[in-house]
Amino acid sequence: MKYRAYILVWAGLIILTGVTFSLAGFHLGGWAVLIALSIAGTKSGLVLNYFMHLKSEKELIFKIAIPLVLAVLLVFISLTFSDVVFR
């Protein structure tokens, strides 16, 4: 049943929110941002693949366009950030 899968994904999202929240209590230093962003990335992946049905899209254009834009965004962010860091 499809509803059941949605509820499982939702439960996963809530658990990951709890993990993000609890990890903020520990002093992980520089790793904290990286871990928080990785969890946020995982949560987005769940929303994109299941709630937004990206996983079950058959058309090739969806499989190409979305990762492409995300890659462009990643390039923008890393180039700008490296400019800030190494200036």
Binding site: K2, W10, F26, K43, S44, F51, L70, F81, V84
Partner: protein, 206 residues
Amino acid sequence: MDEAKGFVPEEVRDYTGAKLGMWLFILSELLLFGGMFILYSAYRYKNPVDFHHASEELDVILGTLNTIILLTSSLTMAISVSALQAGRSRLSAFLLMATIAFGLLFLLNKGIEWTTKIDHGIYPNSPTLLTRAKGEILFFGLYYVMTGLHGLHVLIGVGVLSVMLFFLLKEKITQSHFAGLENSGLYWHLVDIIWIFLYPLFYLIT
């Protein structure tokens, strides 16, 4: 005249085209917010301590509650679309109402959060805020702009979903013609994804 009367135009629907258009819009929205996230990272890198102090002043409980509200609203939205596709339009309408209600609840919490901060004199360019450290001024500037733009998206989402609810009740959106509801749902999930990133970046800086 008689010929014109008997003519029934064939309805043309481009389901994939409609969805692709929505996705292109969503991707442009990602780039819009992406620019702000770049600005945020640069300023946070330059002012780590100020960002940490300013972040501690935000209401973490309210932020976490809003995260749970928005995630749950995404669940009701996803099931609403599935229910309609399965022909259960009453269930679909009920879940759509729930989604709208969660959206309004999110905005209410955001409103409480903002008014509390404004009552304490923390708002862009306020005399109290300008006496603070440079990084804290930047943090609150980004906080108001980014959560504000996100809140605007939630508000627009609530409006769009309300129109879809109206169409659903009027049977303009049906089991065989659900693209409008599905695409509005995609927009709603995008708003959820943006909040997934805003939450740790503003409320949980250690």
